[in-house]
């Protein structure tokens, strides 16, 4: 008998339909991945199983845990079930824990919520559970507070809380999306081990198809609240039926058609032994101030028309280096020159024209009260004689057409656009001064895979059309691999390896690069999978 069985689940919030006829089941010890793009209803499915839906939600259909119908339970028996029979792990480890309680208190709370036992016994159980998830008591005593732990460690605490009562079903909603690749690999391994050890069912929600292919026994693909396709992982990947599934996988492994790199072009950006220190808060009144060195003597060049990638995990100094290259913060040692002129906070405005930037979050990097035309023309503050009148209108419509939008979009406000369109506007804003170098700071990280593929194509196309050079900063190795000629790998403020992108990815030299590449989940080779199943069919 299956552990969890969801049958014809439909859900609406007010007049808005969220889920339509969702049906799937999970067996004990099985990992089921629910995947799809944002708005597909994956997270709502998870919350429906937990019966933690918003008050206005209306559901029909059945959710059976073993032989108990969850939709018919009273709130009291649901509370007795949550945390006890079903555990849940959330996306954001930084905010999922109560900052005012110790990690021990939080794990003990789950235990004593569902079992009557003395505090000391619950604490012993909590300590054992934390040790099991990789937080040994000698280094992570129960008295630690969440703010004293890293993101990956906090996620381990959340997992310990979720499995403290050995639930039969564990739900993990994007459990590693907010983590670095090496941490992600460790957390995924931990989840896999726990499923095997406790014979739990794992319902895993994720948008990352590489993770899905790597982890799941079975896959459910959702789109706009409906299940479009489901089945055994290997079989589904080899015989994708639905066009949406095919499109999703195609977009995930999207290869950009990058124009070939030209050799011997002059350097437009030179970073030489750049050092950037941050002052730490004073611990003693008259002691000398302590500093944290975020960038430690970094040197590299970007040549005219060259596409360079910068990869590294959070805290490695990527963003600090970006701010220095943009001349927003001063260096403590070394130098940066762009287009022959020194870069720094005091550089003249006109020197900033040739270097522009595109940021990560298309939702928060625009002023919502400005029209698109006003947003786009902002960089003209840097120009001595900005275009006016008809010339200005022409520039705006040119740049909008360039990024695949309509000239008439210039009169709209930013809330009228989707995330992908907003990122196009961000690129248009960077392009309007006709720069020769653009910094893309995690510019596609917040986008769904299909939108991401379109934006990557646009970036490649613009680089061809305008002979643009760019520095592409990302934590996503597969994206960097497809859109850059050369790559820099950064760790603890230093560039530990650099070279031609393909060379670095196929034969990484530095142990850190090797670790990064090994940890990054990769999409399975679909062609190989298909032929594999065909041969097995033939031999059968």
């Amino acid at each position: 008998m299956s552990l969890l069985s969801v049958q014809n689940l439909s859900l609406s919030i007010g007049p808005l339909p969220i889920l339509k006829d969702v049906t799937f089941s999970i067996a004990p010890g099985e990992i089921l991945a629910v995947t799809g793009e944002s708005g597909s209803g994956k997270s709502m499915t998870a919350l429906a199983v937990m019966q933690l839906l918003p008050d206005s939600a209306q559901t029909t259909g059945h959710i059976m845990l073993r032989d108990e119908e969850l939709t018919a339970q009273s709130e009291k028996s649901l509370c007795a079930m949550r945390g006890n029979c079903i555990g849940m792990v959330f996306q954001e480890p930084m905010t999922a824990l109560n900052p005012l309680h110790t990690i021990g208190q939080q794990v003990v709370e789950t235990i004593r919520m569902h079992a009557v036992m003395p505090k000391a016994e619950a604490e012993a159980q909590a300590a054992a559970m934390l040790t099991r998830v990789g937080l040994p008591q000698d280094r992570f005593p129960l008295s630690r507070y969440p703010h004293e732990l890293s993101g990956g460690q906090r996620q381990r605490v959340v997992i310990a809380m979720a499995i403290a009562r050995r639930p039969r079903l564990l739900i993990a909603d994007e459990p590693t999306t907010a983590l670095d690749v090496t941490t992600q690999a460790k957390i995924l391994d931990l989840l896999k081990d726990l499923v095997a050890e406790y014979d739990m069912g794992l319902l895993m929600i994720t948008h990352d198809l590489a993770v899905v292919a790597d982890m799941a026994d079975r896959i459910v693909v959702m789109r706009k609240g409906e299940v479009v396709e489901q089945g055994d992982t290997k079989h589904l990947l080899a015989n994708m039926q639905h066009p949406y599934t095919k499109a999703l996988f195609k977009a995930s492994g999207h290869q950009v058609d990058l124009p070939s790199a030209k050799d011997g072009t002059p350097a437009i950006l030179s970073v030489r032994d750049a050092v950037r220190d941050y002052a730490l808060p004073r611990t003693q009144l008259f002691a000398p101030r302590a500093y944290h060195r975020a960038v430690k003597g970094v040197s590299f060049d970007i040549h005219h028309g060259e596409r360079v990638g910068l990869v590294g995990e959070s805290g490695c100094g990527k963003s600090t280096l970006t701010r220095a290259i943009l001349g927003l913060e001063p260096l403590q040692d070394g130098s940066i020159t762009a287009f022959g002129a020194p870069v720094g906070p005091d550089m003249p405005a006109t020197s900033r024209i040739k270097t522009q930037v595109v940021f990560q979050d298309p939702y928060s990097s625009f002023n919502p009260r400005h029209r698109v035309a006003c947003i786009l023309t902002e960089p003209f503050h840097l120009v001595d004689t900005p275009p006016t009148g008809d010339a200005l209108t022409q520039v705006i419509s040119d740049v909008l057409t360039d990024v695949g939008l309509q000239p008439s979009d210039s009169q709209k406000y930013i809330h009228e656009f989707s995330g992908g369109q907003r990122q196009r506007i961000a690129i248009a804003r960077a392009l309007i001064t006709k720069p020769e170098l653009i910094i893309f700071d995690e510019a596609v990280s917040a986008l769904d895979v299909s939108i991401r593929a379109q934006i990557l194509d646009l970036i490649a196309e613009l680089s061809r059309r305008h002979n643009l050079a760019y520095l592409f900063i990302s934590h996503d190795l597969s994206v960097v691999r497809s859109v850059t000629d050369r790559v820099l790998v950064m760790q603890n403020g230093e560039i530990v390896e650099q070279g031609e992108t393909e060379k670095v990815f196929t034969a990484p030299q530095h142990p850190y690069t090797q670790a990064l590449i090994n940890a990054a989940p990769v999409l399975p080779d679909l062609a190989a999978l298909t032929s594999q199943t065909e041969t097995s069919h033939d031999s059968a």
Partner: protein
């Protein structure tokens, strides 16, 4: 935690020095010479000069500032120009009215506001929430002296439960003294509790949207348990800030209520002293109030650290 406390204590000391300078020199600039005011319009210049020297007004400003501060440090606030009694004595009588009144009102305000705010937040958008919000709107809009008059009308004149004004004095026993402070404390507490209840509600609603509240529900806590165990303490930071500000206001701002109920408090003292140009009393009372307000801020800072471990570990 020790480092944090010392840092806050240092900032408390510096604030007091700055405040004393500001108070002294602002009052120096105010026109009106106490000596000529006391002697009336027809006084001879040499009589005024004699009085000025007797009051210690004829030395340099810096010297007078140092004498004033030095005296205060030893508990000597000088002598009132008009009553010729030590200011310490005048303050001593009145602070035993004002301080208990402020604490009484603050306690009442908190006792009303906490349940009301928690109730409203847990019933967001429902009739119970709207009723509480409507009542608090009224509580903020209506001035406290109107409440005071209504309370006198109902409980003193009609029901005759309380006296309409005056202070029984602590020598008649704590019960009698507290009884005479009850109506003023209620009048002061009502508008304050309305503000505090709204702050409590919105702080709780902010916390209810946090991820860790969802985590708590996923562990099997009921809505109520999640609210009480995880919500309340996280909502305390903004609430503590407002409580600290309200205490300061209640201490010095009770002047109208003291007037309505004929209470011999600090508010009345400061009002009378200003009218009589009794600079030394004004300076001393204001300095005392500033000291109490800064002390409350210091205590609120310590309370923050008690609530939030992140502040404790940050030095």
């Amino acid at each position: 935690m020790l480092r944090y406390t010392l840092k806050r204590a240092l900032s408390l000391g510096l604030s007091l020095v700055v405040a004393s300078l500001v108070i002294f020199f602002v009052i120096e600039v105010v026109p009106g010479d106490p000596a000529s005011f006391m002697l009336g319009l027809n006084a001879q210049p040499d009589t005024i000069a004699a009085l000025r020297s007797e009051l210690g007004l004829d030395v340099s400003k810096l010297e007078r500032y140092l004498v004033w501060v030095g005296g205060m440090l030893q508990g000597d606030f000088g002598t009132s120009y008009t009553y010729s009694t030590p200011v310490t004595e005048m303050i001593g009588d009145r602070i035993w009215v004002s301080l208990p009144l402020a604490l009484y009102a603050l306690t009442l305000s908190t006792l009303i506001a906490f349940p009301a705010g928690i109730y409203a937040a847990s019933r967001r958008g429902k009739p119970g929430d709207m009723a509480v919000m409507g009542a608090t709107q009224l509580g903020i809009a209506v001035p406290n002296f109107w409440f005071a008059m209504m309370l006198v009308l109902i409980f003193a004149i009609n029901l005759r439960w309380f006296s309409a004004g005056g202070f029984a004095g602590w020598d008649k026993g704590a019960a009698a003294a507290m009884k005479s402070l009850t109506l003023p404390a209620i009048a002061l507490a009502l508008p304050q509790s309305a503000i505090l209840a709204r702050v409590m509600r919105s702080a709780l609603l902010d916390v209810l949207g946090e991820d860790f509240m969802r985590t708590a529900r996923a562990k099997g806590l009921t809505r109520r348990q999640a609210l009480m165990r995880h919500g309340l303490r996280n909502a305390m930071i903004p609430v503590l800030t407002i409580i600290g500000m309200q205490f300061s206001f209640l201490l010095a701002g009770a002047i109208i209520i003291e007037q309505v109920f004929f209470l011999p408090g600090l508010g009345r003292l400061i009002f009378q002293s200003i009218s009589a140009r009794d600079l030394i009393v004004v300076e001393s009372v204001v300095m005392l109030l500033v000291f109490l307000v800064i002390l409350v801020t210091f205590l609120v800072d310590l309370a923050y650290a008690a609530v939030d471990p992140r502040l404790r570990s940050r030095t």
